[in-house]
Symmetry: C2
Subunit: 204 residues, 2 copies
DNA sequence: ATTCTATTGTATCAATTCGTGACAATAATA
DNA sequence: TATTATTGTCACGAATTGATACAATAGAAT
């Protein structure tokens, strides 16, 4: 997200209301920004350094939006951020900017603009968390369509882990994990054998 | 911890001051309760359901401590808990109760008293987190002395995972992980071959 | 000193898993 | 009908793991 009339970029976020479930607040934010509902959100870390909030950028943002910093003093105070990620297919979503921002859009994780505060560290921590024990996490994510081919699954792994994987070994491993259900074949490729479709089994 | 004149048990915790680093607040709490310093603390989850705070037990605690609930209204409000665990040897520590509590002591994890709020769930989540990728975590913990035998290491694993492990396989696996440094033998056992002492290599 | 006993460090071997290459079975196209 | 690219699976050696065996102790008991 880029704030109005600034070149300050930030991860989308929001505040938790006084009597709101933390998880509800996160779902609310996701819904407002993306329209998405019923997405598995994974909480990965809570960032609470006292000096991570710098009042200056926030004051600039308020001023550039015609808001008096005195009236919104609470926004300049120190706050703690509980961070979540979700796995979705970015092609399914056009994120919407909020009242304070010009744009809200997708960036490749290796080509992020400079982010305010400790938001770059937040992205790093998210990636690191995601890469541990990916097997179980992809199943809960919404990155793949309900039914997908083995190749699509492998590409998801490769994108997240940023490595190439061996086709046969990958296939064998995935099948042996016993997480996948095999369905009908998918006939819409090219001049070659049609792949099976798979889905994740429902959680036990 | 058991609060004065109640039979309300809780995990030890505290509040983060307005301009205090979150991690500092946790270290402060640990220090007050145990005297321990320089302990690796692992943040594992942030609990933020709006209904997890029940004002009643808190009011009772205040009343039984001769404190007027009106004066401490903020303690009755909803709050969010960022939870941490540490791996230490409980024999090294006699925990100290705070002003509000009668006792603060160790309980076997499978024989906990009934805990207030969602504290039982917090314990479960801590255990679950700890059990994932234990290898790297034990090295950062303070559960074992600086030098320990292979048997002690295995007992630590077995205690945490709550399973029996095969001695020879365990030893081979530990050595192949390349995390241990071998030192002199420990001569103070019984009528049998003396075991080597090991320590964790310093982090790369 | 000598024998005995329990524990420890390795070796061994089978069972299992993994990396790698090969190959037959397709779908669409030419 | 031949061609082409991709897919599912097999096959085989390499590496890892489970399980058993055994020699090397350190101290205690004779």
């Amino acid at each position: 997200m880029e704030y109005h009339n600034t070149s300050v970029f930030a991860l989308p976020g929001g505040f938790v209301q006084k009597n709101e479930h933390l998880n509800d607040a996160v779902r609310r934010g996701l819904k407002e920004r993306t329209g998405l509902d019923n997405i598995h959100l994974e909480q990965f870390y809570t960032f609470g350094d006292a000096d991570r909030n710098n009042a200056e950028p926030m004051r600039t943002i308020l001023l550039n939006n015609g808001l008096a910093p005195e009236k919104y003093a609470w926004m300049l105070e120190r706050f703690i951020s509980v961070a979540y990620y979700a796995l979705i297919n970015y092609k399914d979503v056009v994120p919407q900017p909020d009242a304070l921002s010009d744009s809200c859009r997708w960036y490749p994780v290796n080509a992020l603009p400079p982010l305010m505060m400790d938001h770059t560290r937040i992205v790093e921590k998210a990636l690191q968390t995601l890469r541990d024990n990916l097997d179980r996490k992809l199943a809960r994510g919404n990155m793949l369509p309900p039914k997908f081919t083995m190749k699509e699954l492998q590409q998801a792994y490769e994108a997240i882990l940023d490595t190439k994987l061996l086709r046969t070994t990958f296939q064998r491993r995935m099948l042996s994990l016993n997480l996948l259900e095999r369905h009908e074949k998918q006939f819409l490729g090219g001049a070659h054998k049609a792949p099976y479709l798979y889905s994740f089994k429902v959680e036990k």
